[in-house]
Amino acid sequence: MPALVDVQGLVKHFPGERALLGLGRPRAVVRAVDDVSFAIAPGETLGLVGESGCGKSTVGRAILRLIEPDAGRVTIDGQDVVALGARPLRALRRRMQIVFQDPYGSLNPRMTVRQMLAEPLAIHRIASGADAQRRIAALLEEVGLDPSFAQSYAHELSGGQRQRVGIARALSVEPHFLVLDEPVSALDVSIQAQVLNLLAELQRGRRLTYLFIAHDLAVVRHIADHVAVMYLGKIVERAPAPALYAGPRHPYTTSLLSAVPVPDPKAQRQRIVLAGDVPSPAHPPPGCPFHPRCPHPKKDARCRTEPPALREVAPGQLAACHFAEQPL
């Protein structure tokens, strides 16, 4: 099946601001996203995981052109997103949408839920008047909110309710592809499951394609068909979810998996505790970006000098490690 979303060689660097009120030396360029490629088949979910600052949100925003990518090709629904002019891009926005991490910051505090849901309908001339009201009520019902919430302002809603409004707003234009940028990270534990179930149902009902960004590997395992692991702006491992969780090939993936706390006192596994901190993407280490923290016993001079390529190690499973054949 041809992919619905195809990303090739995506690059986004943020220029360093000058320190000291614009007089100092310019800071180093932040390589937020450095040559990222993946594809998502229609109706499937790609989970994108990695630690804070590794560039996950930047990938999500760049493929929707909410920020301009520096290089790379992004195809969504057969259209080249990067080359699109302003007007066709706005038309394409009907097919691709985004739900944000912060349910408090992503809703306009001065608008009611009704106004927020009516706006996209007006922008794309999808519906107006009574028809729009009917659609708004249906949307609210679909995301599990009482229609009476249409009158509410964001600050009158709980975190889970706000996130539902954010999802309803994204769905209002009937997109095919949704970027979910950490949609449950800010929610209470007992509310996360509600929203995850809702997202799964919507995906089945509407045949949606998801890019699901998260830092929680357990959540990603629950929802994703394929998983890509990012470290310092690069994808270090990409595989079908069952393969990745059963047999991670990159030492970073292995460490990440072992660091997730498991809510079972009997099943406390041996944690691999990585030394040091996540380096800054402004100064990525040479060679393999993971080498200063890598616990792999075979780690050698090659790791410090030669950047490993992302290559297929097992059928469908790609890893960027010189020793991917001998995983931890």
């Binding site: 925003r61 929707l64 909410l66 706005r90 038309a91 926005r93 009907r94 949408q97 985004i98 944000f100 991490q101 912060d102 910051g105 992503s106 809703l107 306009n108 505090p109 001065r110 608008m111 706006e119 996209p120 922008i123 794309h124 954010g166 707003r169 994204a170 234009v173």
Partner: protein, 307 residues
């Protein structure tokens, strides 16, 4: 005559009190409203403003004499008395009546000039902050120049070249030289708002620049604009008064508080009242505006929402 003067004066005061009391009652239900009235001088400031606005609006009723009427050319500079509440000026005109009509001019010019400044400043700031890059660089250089410019001096030059300046031109001049600060403020606000996720969400939904600016960014920047506007009116009034005092603003015989001070100035020794009362009026109103602006800042600052 004098009974009527007292009656209207008292009536205006009572009306102003009623306005403040009613506002207080209505706003008490909202948290920002309560914060507003918690400011120690907010209610007093509001009262002073309401009082002057009332007499300005009802000037023909409140003023015992027409503002230009020279009562008795032979006996100018009469001291305050039951008949002439605040005395008469060197041209034998009733100071109270002129003060009342002057309120129209002074408050009106201050408010209108501020509206001009706020509109231009908001537009420039919003465009600059939203589009950034060269648009921002160009506009902000312009603002830098504007802020560095000695405003009084430029106004003096412009007005001096322009004999008998029309009121609307004066309003425009004061307004158009007073928006630079507002534009900086709005730009800073817009720069931070445009990074907020709800703005990204609007863009992701396909909203164009105009919609994003007017529906999403500016409504959320309203609070600081309003506060700076309230604080700015006082400045505009002082500027107008200064120009009028120098004889370059509102042309005589039309009464403005500034030229009233000028009219009485050289007779200060024998008739202190004809300059002092308009001066007091300006001071009172400016202080009241500052108090109200300050209280608005308390009320609208969302960081206080949590407390």
């Amino acid at each position: 005559m004098s009974v009527w003067t007292w009656l209207t004066l008292g009536g205006a005061a009572v009306l102003a009190l009623a306005v403040v009391a009613e506002l207080r009652r209505r706003l008490q239900t909202s948290a920002p409203g309560r914060r507003f009235f918690r400011h120690p001088t907010a209610a007093l400031g509001l009262f002073v403003l309401a009082f002057f606005v009332t007499i300005a609006l009802a000037a023909p009723v409140v003023a015992p004499y027409p503002p230009y009427y020279q009562i008795d050319i032979g006996h100018p500079n009469r001291p305050p008395s039951a008949q002439f509440l605040l005395g008469t000026d060197p041209f034998s005109r009733d100071v109270w009546s002129r003060l009342v009509y002057g309120a129209r001019v002074s408050l009106g010019i201050g408010t209108l000039a501020m509206l001009v400044a706020a509109t231009v400043g908001t537009a420039v700031g919003a465009v600059s902050g939203y589009f950034r890059r060269w648009v921002d660089a160009t506009l902000m250089r312009l603002v830098d120049v504007g802020l560095a410019m000695p405003r009084i001096f430029v106004l003096l030059m412009a007005v001096a070249l322009w004999e008998h300046i029309a009121l609307w031109a004066l309003v425009l001049l004061i307004g158009l030289t007073g928006w630079f600060g507002t534009s900086r403020l709005v730009r800073a606000e817009v720069l931070s708002l445009r990074e907020r996720e709800f703005v990204a969400a609007a863009r992701a939904l396909g909203a164009g620049a105009g919609r994003v600016i007017f529906r999403h960014v500016l409504p959320n920047a309203a609070a600081p604009i309003i506060v700076s506007g309230a604080l700015g009116i006082g400045n505009m009034m002082l500027l107008e008064a200064g120009l009028s005092f120098l004889g370059l603003g509102v042309p005589s015989p039309a009464p403005s508080w500034g030229n009233m001070i000028a009219d009485g100035w050289h007779k200060m020794a024998v008739a202190w009242w004809s300059s002092t009362f308009p001066g007091l009026a300006i001071s009172l109103v400016v202080m009241a505006l500052n108090a109200v602006g300050d209280a608005l800042r308390d009320a609208l600052d969302p960081r206080r929402e949590a407390a």
